[in-house]
Subunit: 231 residues, 2 copies
DNA sequence: ATTAAATAGTGAATACCATTAACCATGTGT
DNA sequence: ACACATGGTTAATGGTATTCACTATTTAAT
C-alpha cells in the first residue's frame, strides 16, 4: 500500500546524507522527517545500515545515469568528445555530490561493501564498461599504441586479465593498462578536488582537469574535440 | 602531574581509531581504556573532536617522519632512489594505516579541517617541501624538461604560483606542474589501493606502483635506481 | 603551618542515538 | 465473520556526548 513511504524515506535519507554527511544519516532523523517513529522504518530498511545501503544504490544509479547521458550527448563517432565529456561529468558530479562520492569511491565504499552482499563490483564494472566500449572503438580503429603482452610484467599482466574478465572487456591487456593509467590520474584528480587537500591553491580544479585531459587524450592518440557539448 | 594520562589517552585513541575506524573512536571507549570516567577526558581534550584532532596531529608527525626517514636512507646524490623510496614509503604507510590515511588525506581531512584551526596546510606543505627539495635538486642539475611559463594556461599558472609560494618552493612553475602531475598519479594509486575499489583485480598494488614509478621517473628524465633501499 | 586556590577527578542529569519486543489497529482473503 | 498479514505504535534497554555541581588533593602564599 504505502510503498511511497519507502520512496519518501530514501529521498529524505539522501538529502540528510548530503547535508550532514553519512555520519549524520540517522534512523531517528529520517523517521522525524517522514513523520513516523524510528521503529517503523525497520519494516522497510535493515536499520541504519540498510538506509545507507539504500542511499548507496540510489546514488550509484544516479551517478551512472549522469555519466552515461553525458557520453551519449556527444557525436557517436567523436570518441575524443565522448571520453572528455564522460570524464568531465564524473568530475562535475563528484564535486556537486562530495558526500556521495566518498560513499561510492572513497572511504564509504569499503564500509558499505563490508556490511552487505553484491556491492564491490557494481561501479567498477559499469563505469569500466562504459569507458571500455570507447577504448574498444579506439582499438578497432587501430589508433592505439600500447605495450605488447610480453612487455608487461607477468604479475601485472595477470591482474589486468582479471580486470578485463570481470569488467567484460575484449581487447589486449596493453589497452587495459592504458585504461587503468588514465583512471589512476582521473581518480587522483577527483580525490584532490573532492577532499580538498590542495584547496589552498587549486580551489578551481578545472584548469588542472583540462590540462590532464589534453595529456590523456594525447596518450590515446587523440586531440581535444572541437565539438564538445558539456551540460 | 599526570600529563602521562594525556599520553596514554592519545595512544589508546590512536589504537581504537586504527582498529575500529574513526567513527568508533569515542570518548567513552578511551575513558574505559585508560580507567577513568568520560568527563575526566574533557580536562585534556576538547571532547570527541579534540581526541580526533590529537590523533590527527600525532599521525601527521608519524607519517612525515616515516617518509622523511625513507628518503634519507638513500644515497644523497641518488635522486631517483630518494624519490622512489619516499613514494614507496608513502604507499606502504598508507596501506598499513588505512584509517589514518583517510584522516590525513581522505574524507577525514575536510572534517578535521572544518572543526579546528591551522590544519589545512600541514601535510601539503611538509610533504610538498620534502619532495620539492628533490625536484629543486633536479632542476639545478638541469635534468628537467618542463613547460615554459608562457606555455601554461594563465589561470593554472596563477594556481601553481600560489602553490609554490605556500609550500615555499623556488623553481619555475613548469617544475611545480611536474610535481603536481606526479602527485596526482601517486595519490590516485594510493586511493585505489587504500579504498580498494579495484581490489577484485588489483589486490596487490605493487606491480602497478612499480610501473607507475618507471613512468614518473621517466617523466623527470631519470631511470630506476639500482641502489634502492626499501625498509 | 595554615589557608587559599588551582588541579583532577567523580556522579548525576540531559539529550541524543539504535535496536528489539510487545502490542494494536486496519484492511484483505476466504 | 473470521483469521491473518501489514504497518504502524509505545516501552524498554543500552550505548553515546556533554555539561554541571561537587569533592578530594595538591600546590602556593602568607
Amino acid at each position: 500500500m504505502r510503498a511511497e513511504l519507502e520512496r519518501d524515506a530514501k529521498v529524505v535519507a539522501r538529502r540528510i546524507a548530503a547535508e550532514e554527511g553519512v555520519e549524520g544519516l540517522t534512523v531517528a532523523a529520517v523517521a522525524r522527517s517522514v513523520g513516523v517513529t524510528p521503529p517503523a522504518l525497520y519494516r522497510y530498511f535493515n536499520g541504519r545500515a540498510g538506509l545507507v545501503r539504500a542511499v548507496y544504490d540510489d546514488v550509484t544509479a544516479e551517478f551512472m545515469d549522469t555519466v552515461a547521458r553525458a557520453v551519449h550527448r556527444q557525436d557517436p563517432d567523436d570518441i575524443s568528445a565522448r571520453l572528455h565529456a564522460g570524464t568531465r561529468a564524473v568530475l562535475d558530479w563528484s564535486l556537486a555530490n562530495k558526500v556521495e562520492f566518498d560513499l561510492l569511491m572513497g572511504a564509504g565504499f569499503p564500509k558499505v561493501a563490508a556490511s552487505e552482499e553484491g556491492i564491490p563490483i557494481v561501479i567498477a564494472r559499469e563505469l569500466g564498461g562504459l569507458f571500455g566500449r570507447l577504448f574498444a572503438q579506439l582499438w578497432h580503429e587501430g589508433q592505439l599504441t600500447c605495450l605488447a603482452d610480453e612487455d608487461i610484467d607477468p604479475v601485472l599482466a595477470a591482474q589486468l586479465r582479471t580486470y578485463r574478465t570481470t569488467v567484460g572487456l575484449e581487447f589486449p591487456i596493453g589497452v587495459v593498462l592504458l585504461m587503468v593509467i588514465c583512471w589512476r590520474q582521473i581518480y587522483g584528480l577527483l580525490c584532490m578536488a573532492v577532499y580538498g587537500h590542495h584547496k589552498f591553491a587549486f580551489e578551481d580544479p578545472l584548469p588542472l582537469f583540462e590540462h590532464m585531459m589534453d595529456d590523456l587524450l594525447g596518450l590515446l592518440g587523440l586531440t581535444r574535440s572541437p565539438n564538445l557539448h558539456v551540460a
